[in-house]
C-alpha cells in the first residue's frame, strides 16, 4: 500500500482484472453452494433475457474485497462496502474493477478512514457495478 501521507482524493489506488465465465462461477458455486441455473446454464440465462449464463453478484462482491485487501496488504481493514449492480456479468468477458480515493478523514481513534469509489466495467464498456467502501488505516505516528 502507498504511504498514507501520499494518498490523495482522486487517486486510483487499486485495479483488479478478471476474465469471467463458468470456470470462475462454478468454483464459487462450489464454496457458496450457489448452484443457480442462471449462473450455470446457457438455456436458463437466455430464458431470463440474457445471452447466456451470468456471473454471481456475490462473486463480484468478493472480487472487490480481494482488490482492497491486496491494496491494504495487511496495513488496514475494510469497515464498510456498498454496491449497486447495474448490468449482468456476461460470460467470457473481461471485467476490470477499480478503487479511487474519494475522501480521507482522520479519526480521534487513531485511525484514518479512506473512502474509495468502486467500479467494475466489462470489455464491452458496460458498467456492471459501482459503489464505495470505507477502509481504516492506523494514522501515522
Amino acid at each position: 500500500m502507498a504511504n498514507l501521507a501520499d494518498l490523495a482524493v482522486g487517486q486510483e489506488v487499486a485495479v483488479l482484472v478478471r476474465e469471467t465465465g463458468v470456470a470462475n462461477w462454478n468454483r464459487y458455486a462450489a464454496v457458496n453452494d450457489e448452484f443457480v441455473p442462471i449462473h450455470m446454464d446457457e438455456a436458463a440465462g437466455r430464458t431470463a433475457g440474457f445471452t447466456g449464463p451470468i456471473g454471481m453478484g456475490n462473486l463480484q462482491w468478493a472480487y472487490y474485497h480481494n482488490m482492497l485487501r491486496g491494496w491494504l496488504n495487511g496495513a488496514g481493514r475494510i469497515e464498510q462496502m456498498n454496491l449497486k449492480f447495474s448490468n449482468p456479468n456476461l460470460s467470457n468477458t473481461v471485467v476490470t474493477l477499480k478503487a479511487t480515493v474519494s475522501a480521507i478523514e482522520s479519526g480521534a481513534d487513531g485511525q484514518t478512514r479512506v473512502t474509495v469509489a468502486l467500479t467494475a466495467d466489462d470489455d464491452q464498456a458496460r458498467r456492471l457495478s459501482s459503489g464505495d467502501a470505507v477502509v481504516s488505516i492506523p494514522s501515522a505516528g
Binding site: 462450489a30 464454496v31 443457480v36 474485497h65 480481494n66 481493514r77 456498498n82
Partner: protein, 159 residues
C-alpha cells in the same frame, strides 16, 4: 399500474423471517473459499497456510447448518414470501440489485455464526424487463460471544 405488493407482503416488513446458525468455521472452509474467490490467482498466505481469520465476505452458512436451513437458492423467485407463508407476488426471475455491509469483528476458525434476516422494504419500478419488484433485506450476523460480525443489507430485483 397493478401493484406487485400485497397487503400480506406489507405485513411481514420488519419481522424476522429466518434465523440460522452455522457449524463452527474450519480452516479448511476458509482455504477453499479463498481458493475459489481468488481464482485463477493464488490466495494470500493468510488464508492458506494457517488461517486465523476468514475473508470478510466469507459465508459460514454454505452447504449445511446444524438445523435445517432455508435454501433460498433452490426456492425460486418467491422464496421470501414462501418462507413467510403468504401468497407470493407474480414474479419468475430474480437478480441481485445491490448489497451493503458494515463489518464488525472478524470471523475466525471455531466461530459459530448466527444470522437474522428480515425484509426492510418493498418498492416497484418499471424497467427494460417489465414491472420490477425491489425488496430490501437486512441480515445481522453475530458470533458465539454475541459480537456483531457484519450487518448485511441487500436489494433483490424480481420480475
Amino acid at each position: 399500474m397493478t401493484t406487485l405488493i400485497s397487503e400480506d407482503m406489507k405485513g411481514i416488513i420488519g419481522k424476522e423471517l429466518v434465523s440460522k446458525r452455522s457449524y463452527p468455521i474450519t480452516q479448511s472452509d476458509i482455504r477453499k473459499w479463498a481458493i475459489a474467490v481468488y481464482f485463477p490467482d493464488q490466495p494470500p498466505a493468510e488464508f492458506l497456510d494457517d488461517p486465523q481469520v476468514a475473508p470478510e465476505e466469507f459465508n459460514p452458512f454454505a452447504w449445511a447448518t446444524p438445523t435445517p436451513a432455508v435454501r433460498f437458492s433452490e426456492m425460486g423467485a418467491t422464496a421470501l414470501e414462501d418462507v413467510a407463508g403468504i401468497p407470493a407476488p407474480p414474479v419468475k426471475f430474480q437478480l441481485n440489485g445491490g448489497v451493503g455491509c458494515t463489518y464488525g469483528v472478524r470471523m475466525r476458525p471455531g466461530d459459530v455464526i448466527t444470522s437474522s434476516l428480515s425484509i426492510v422494504n418493498y418498492f416497484e419500478k418499471s424497467g427494460k424487463l417489465g414491472q420490477m419488484l425491489f425488496t430490501d433485506r437486512a441480515d445481522v450476523w453475530t458470533n458465539q460471544n454475541g459480537e456483531v460480525v457484519r450487518t448485511n443489507t441487500s436489494t433483490l430485483i424480481r420480475y
